[in-house]
């Protein structure tokens, strides 16, 4: 499971802006719209994908993001290794 937490559009991202301002000095003068965020990876046990997604959406809403300023993008990848190991 990968949860990417980003600032909502319109919320100032001074860190992204600072990185962007530094890039031309290194010759990267075609880079725009730099936005920073954080990535949180974890595994979750669930009976299926909809159940896992629902659980993670709730987790994002209540804890991993502050909905006032942040939003989450969830990428779900099936991990069968744990289930197979248990057999």
């Amino acid at each position: 499971m990968l949860v990417e937490v980003a600032l909502r559009p319109g919320i100032a991202d001074p860190q992204g802006a600072t990185i962007e301002r530094a890039l031309p000095a290194l010759g990267f003068d075609q880079v725009h719209a730099v936005r920073t965020g954080k990535a949180i990876r974890f595994s979750i046990e669930a009976v299926g994908e909809p159940a896992a997604r629902s659980e993670v959406d709730e987790l994002c809403r209540r804890f991993l993001t502050n909905p006032v300023i942040e939003e989450a993008h969830v990428t779900l990848t099936a991990d069968t290794s744990t289930a197979e190991a248990a057999r």
């Binding site: 919320i11 001074p14 860190q15 502050n66 006032v68 300023i69």
Partner: protein
């Protein structure tokens, strides 16, 4: 009867003893309350002090809002008890949804530690009710994430309901509408980024914070609030 202030100690708080000292200087009694406590011990007011509760991991206040003590703080606040969040405490109150909006990184991306001049805006909060609107106070700030933000509807609500408690005279961090502190609709829950406890003696450069703390000490919780609270006192400390 002297008012008793409970100062919550989270793992990573670092201003709790300063608040205790400042409350003493303002004429009140103060005691620490461990964040794992589920009972506030009948205090008259609660302060969530500055620092880095739970290391500020994930986001400032994100984990602290789930500390066991916060359920008791929410019950206390709902019953009209005075709850003040200073700096990291303000961040915790917004994460707990006891106050609207959020604190984002300072506009200039620098940690700010300096005295600022504040203007008292609303006097309906427990922290400012003994002050005068327009009054100026010199109180230090000490934060990286103190840039208050909220949506337009919330800002309008805060303005119309006279819930902007303090404004910066010169905005240091990009905070929307120069907001340094806000309160809830009832005025009993207040969050502010500046540290009144660090302006509690002229030897520290300013004693202006005492006026805020004395105002707080004058607020009494309604009868029956707090599990072991004694009868509420109308008289000022």
């Amino acid at each position: 009867m002297t008012a008793r202030v409970g100062v919550v100690l989270f793992p990573g708080s670092n201003c709790e003893h300063d608040v205790v000292e400042a409350v003493h200087a303002a004429g009140g009694e103060a005691e620490l309350i461990w964040h794992g406590a589920t009972d506030l011990g009948g205090v008259d007011a609660v302060v969530l002090p500055g620092g880095f509760a739970h290391g500020d991991y994930l986001r400032p206040g994100a984990i602290a809002r789930f500390s066991p003590v916060m359920a008791a703080v929410e019950t206390f606040a709902a019953a009209g008890g005075a709850v003040i969040g200073i700096c990291n405490g303000f961040q915790i109150l917004t994460e707990a949804r006891l106050l609207p909006g959020a604190l984002q990184k300072n506009r200039g991306l620098t940690f700010l530690c300096m005295p600022v001049t504040l203007e008292v805006v609303s006097t309906r909060s427990v922290l400012t009710r003994d002050l005068v609107a327009g009054q100026r106070l010199s109180i230090p700030i000490n934060h990286f994430e103190g840039n208050y933000t909220c949506d337009a509807a919330t800002l309008q609500e805060l303005t119309e309901q006279d819930r902007i408690v303090l404004r910066y005279v010169q905005n240091p961090n990009g905070s929307i509408d120069n907001i340094a502190g806000i309160c809830n609709a009832q005025g009993n829950v207040v969050g502010l980024m500046p540290h009144p406890e660090r302006a509690s003696d002229i030897l520290l450069g300013s004693a202006d914070g005492l006026a805020l703390l004395r105002s707080l000490l004058g607020h009494r919780v309604p009868v029956g609030v707090g599990a072991t609270a004694g009868p509420a006192q109308a008289a000022r400390a």
